[in-house]
């Protein structure tokens, strides 16, 4: 009987303690006999609260929150990069503005108008598409659940990333992912390797890897973060060269025969040309450029200039105006014309936000005063004077 009374007393103290009333609670804190029974009773009340809250408040959309967090982080990465580049250039005081450009000596002007980017649109020019096996090519929006299941892929809710991670069984199907101009896309392959595909690029890969090596085929540009697997080398095959690694981070760029680069950020890569006549091994921080018929030219580079695109930036380190304009044309899907007065071989350092409009980027270029680039939206043409 006494025990019961005692117990009731404790429960009552706990109830008092857990009342949502600040004044009472101050007393409760000073209660010396906060013994196990009392604590247990308080805890039960807290548990009742917990369950009531869960029953009466809807859970947040976790995937949406995750996207937001990852997006913020992306902004951070980019902000950090602006800061770092700011430092380099900020040797002088006026540097914050000059951040856009550092010009260097130039070659002779070419006296003719020339077209360096051609925006011939393809049938599905605006959509990211997936071709599963021999089936028809479908845009990501058109893909039905069954298609995805057959390919072994899952698409995140925002439609910004596709993953095959964990696909280990079932029919082996080759998938081809195509990214148009103005877009980029990330795919996680079955072995966990992450691939960021740049604009106007295409990647062919199996939904799961079976043989001794993990082989994918690339046209255009992609950044690879290869999952380590010493037993199964990872091979990136392109029209002009191939790269072989065990586990590493690197960028492969092969838009055209004269624009072939492999840039190593981490780990080790072995590159060879299509005929396997030229071979080179890269160390982190090196870029291998394939000179048609002459083999690889290795240079120590600022790798961020080659990989900034995956963080949503244009970043050129002493690139020629021609290269810069070609890249802008590719991203914004515009033709580029150089007038005779323009110097295509000006080299410059240039940084801009890829999410900005073409007009904003051209403003930055023009603000430097050495070139005048104008954009005619009707003809989708950039003219550089």
């Amino acid at each position: 009987m006494k025990d019961n009374l005692d117990n009731d007393k404790k429960l009552e103290t706990a109830i008092d303690a857990m009342e949502h009333d600040a004044d009472r609670l101050e007393n409760a804190i000073n209660t010396p006999d906060a013994d196990e029974d009392l604590k247990a009773a308080c805890r039960d009340i807290a548990l009742i609260e917990k369950v009531l809250l869960r029953q009466c408040h809807r859970a947040p959309d976790v995937e949406a929150e995750l996207d937001k967090v990852l997006a913020t982080n992306r902004k951070h990465t980019r902000r950090a990069m602006w800061r770092r580049i700011g430092w380099w250039t900020a040797a002088g005081v006026a540097a914050m503005l000059a951040l856009v450009f550092i010009l260097r000596g130039t070659d002779v002007n070419e006296a003719s108008t020339s077209l360096i980017a051609d925006s011939t649109p393809t049938a599905d020019a605006d959509e990211i598409t997936l071709r599963i096996g021999d089936a028809t090519t479908l845009s990501l929006e058109q893909l039905a659940e069954g298609d995805l299941q057959r390919s072994g892929a899952t698409l995140d809710e925002g439609g910004e990333e596709m993953t095959y991670a964990g696909t280990h069984v079932g029919e082996v199907v080759h998938n081809t992912l195509s990214v148009p101009r103005r877009k980029d896309f990330k795919v996680v392959l079955a072995d966990g390797t992450e691939v960021w595909l740049n604009a106007e690029s295409r990647l062919t890969y199996p939904n799961r890897f079976t043989d001794g090596e993990r082989r994918v085929k690339l046209q255009g540009e992609a950044y690879f973060k290869v999952a380590v697997d010493r037993q199964h080398p990872f091979v990136v095959e392109t029209d002009y060269m191939q790269s072989e690694v065990l586990g590493t981070e690197f960028n492969v760029r092969t838009y055209t025969a004269d624009d072939c680069h492999v840039t190593l950020v981490k780990g080790g890569v072995r590159v060879s040309d299509a005929a396997r006549r030229h071979v080179a091994e890269l160390r982190p921080g090196q870029d291998a450029r394939l000179e048609p018929d002459a083999g690889f030219v290795l240079t120590q580079v600022d790798t961020e200039a080659y990989t900034a695109w995956k963080d949503g930036l244009f970043y050129f380190d002493q690139a020629t105006l021609a290269d810069i304009m070609r890249e802008l044309g590719r991203w914004y899907d515009a033709d580029v014309t150089f007038e005779a007065s323009a110097d295509k071989n000006f080299r410059m350092r240039f940084l801009a936000d890829r999410r900005g409009s073409l007009e904003q980027v051209l403003d930055l270029l023009n603000g430097f005063g050495r070139v005048t680039a104008t954009y005619d939206a009707a003809t989708r043409r950039i003219t550089v004077k």
Partner: protein, 164 residues
Amino acid sequence: MDRTGFETLFRESYVKLYYYALQLTRDEEASKDIVSGMFCELLEHCDRVEQSTVTTYLYTAVRNKCVDHLRHNLIKAEYADYYLKAVDACYQDDEAEAAEKERCVEEMLARLPAQTSHILKECYLNRKKYKEVADELGVCNDTVKRHIMRALKYLRELYSGKKD
């Protein structure tokens, strides 16, 4: 911890942390901000995160942010202090044991007389004082407390019933 590890951790723990923050702040938007903000910070240095201690880290970080939030909104810190201990306790249980206890609570809530469950909701979900609820119902303060006490005893019975 790598990026994939981060995403897994996020998916596994977001909802739990959200309700923990919600219990402390009773503010849905603030709770999302607190938990997402904490994950943003975690992502910045996720390569330095120890998998073994990460859960403790998550709860501590969220709790600190909630306390900041309460303090910022001039809610008495003393209040938070004591209440926190009880709330913490019910989030730090062993997973399986916690799930079992929560099932008991659900069962209890489903079986309680309407009046009692109304009182529990008013006091703990809507954070009303016992006196306020008593006045609304036209009963005396002690009656409200007796309802709660009965609920707690019933919960104990359910606990012990499960143990047998």
